[in-house]
């Protein structure tokens, strides 16, 4: 027994290193799965409060640029208003509209923290559970797609940015509807990759890429970017496409979070399919 204690004392530095390292790896293995929110909820609150203060200061320097882009967006939205259309019908009857039903609602949010140079980049927003934010909501900026909400606390949420190796967004070519998956290879924060576009689809530089209608997260047709470069290797079944994104992730400061009102309905319907399959 005394020898054991002496042994432990003699190598106490190594044992201590070993124990702490094991602790670090336990934390790593338990929480590395990006769906497990709890670790970020514990430690996130401290960091988030800190970053809010920093971003409050930084926002002053961006005001002019943000104003410009908001003005542009306002102009675009005004042109879509009903009042900017010529009324062609003669009788104007107000009826209860059963043809159009609101499917997506938009909520503004401010970027509290952001990174673009890491391999897995996250964005923190100042909206959380208390504002009705849930996991897997879409996030877009004035110019295009930004990412998907992945963790929510009471006052904040973190967003899996497009610039994250775990992020996949269902996209399509605007001109012919051919679809693919948008991912990021970790090199250039302006350029993302569009995978799985079949080789018979004609693609050209500057073709618009938008979100597809398959995803229960994003509304159809949100702009993502335009084709910057493409090749088709001999014997390859899919195009290699680089997409220049419209959103400048290095300066993004105000975003919209999109809630799909019908998402639960779609998911509960689709879960019936899974149940059926499991029974068979």
């Amino acid at each position: 027994m005394r020898n054991l204690i002496f042994f432990i004392y003699k190598y106490h530095v190594f044992f201590m290193f070993f124990l702490l390292e094991v602790l670090a790896f336990v934390i790593l293995y338990r929480y590395n799965n990006y769906q497990k929110a709890s670790f970020l909820n514990y430690t996130g609150a401290i960091a988030n409060n800190f970053y809010t203060g920093v971003s409050n200061t930084k926002d002053y320097f961006n005001l002019r640029r943000v104003n410009d882009s908001l003005q542009l967006e306002n102009a675009r939205l005004r042109t879509q208003l009903l009042t900017s259309y010529y009324q062609n019908n003669i009788s104007l009857n107000s009826i209860n509209d059963t043809v159009y039903k609101q499917q997506y609602t938009y909520l503004t949010a401010r970027v509290v923290n952001n990174s673009v140079t890491k391999r897995k980049n996250y964005i923190t927003l100042n909206r959380g559970r208390l504002h009705g934010i849930e996991e897997k909501m879409a996030v877009i900026s004035e110019t295009g797609v930004v990412g998907i909400v992945n963790h929510v606390s009471d006052h904040y949420c973190t967003v899996l940015s497009v610039l994250n190796s775990d992020c996949r967004i269902s996209a399509k070519l605007q001109k012919n509807g051919a679809f693919g998956a948008l991912m990021w290879d970790g090199n250039n924060p302006r350029i993302a990759q569009l995978k799985d576009v079949n080789k018979h689809v004609p693609v050209r530089i500057n073709d618009m890429i938008v979100t597809s209608n398959f995803s229960p997260i994003f509304p159809e047709g949100i702009p993502i970017g335009k084709i910057y470069y493409h090749t088709l290797d001999a014997g390859d079944n899919f195009h290699t496409i680089d997409v220049e994104m419209f959103t400048d992730f290095t300066t993004v400061s105000t975003v919209y979070i999109i809630k799909n009102v019908f998402k639960q309905e779609q998911e509960s319907l689709e879960s019936l399919l899974i149940e059926e399959r499991n029974k068979k």
Binding site: H12, V13, F14, M16, F17, L20, E21, L23, A24, F25, V26, I27, L28, R30, Y31, N32, F39, L40, T43, G44, I46, A47, F50, V54, S115, V116, T117, K118, R119, K120, Y122, T158, G186, N187, N188, P189, T250
Partner: protein, 173 residues
Amino acid sequence: MILDFFSYLLRFILIILLQVLVVDNIDISTKVNPYIYIGFILLLPVTIKPWFALVLAFLCGATMDTFSKTPGMHIAATLLLAYLRIHYLRFSTTKEDIESRIRPSISKKGVVWFVFYAFIMTFIHHTLLFYLEIYGFQEFFNTLLRILLSTLVTVLMIVVGQLLFYNVKTRNE
């Protein structure tokens, strides 16, 4: 002792703030992610108790994990750094160094010694950290390139930082 404690605390807070507020916001390239906060561990005095160095490394890593929203990666890498540093210093310091309780810095040990020491330690730290971040060896050579470039920039920043801040102090001594 209490003075020592506050001196550590002040250095700790300063270097973490520098990392989180300044260095993390320098978008050089996706290949370069410098982590200068390890300078805090590198510049601990030679005579610091090994267990205390490990505790400081753990706290340092945990703080960085909190800010960068990573689970345990910085803790694991910084602990390894602090542990290997103990052994490295045992072989590369002289008796006088230990008796005069120096910090392993440029002004005490010379530029060549320090750059070599900082490079090896930083490289070990970054290697573990970056492969843990990728969580596997899928992009082995791309990650190796990122590690090398980031290590160079980290060492450069730590050396420049020392020339800026430490020289004034040693001249007065």
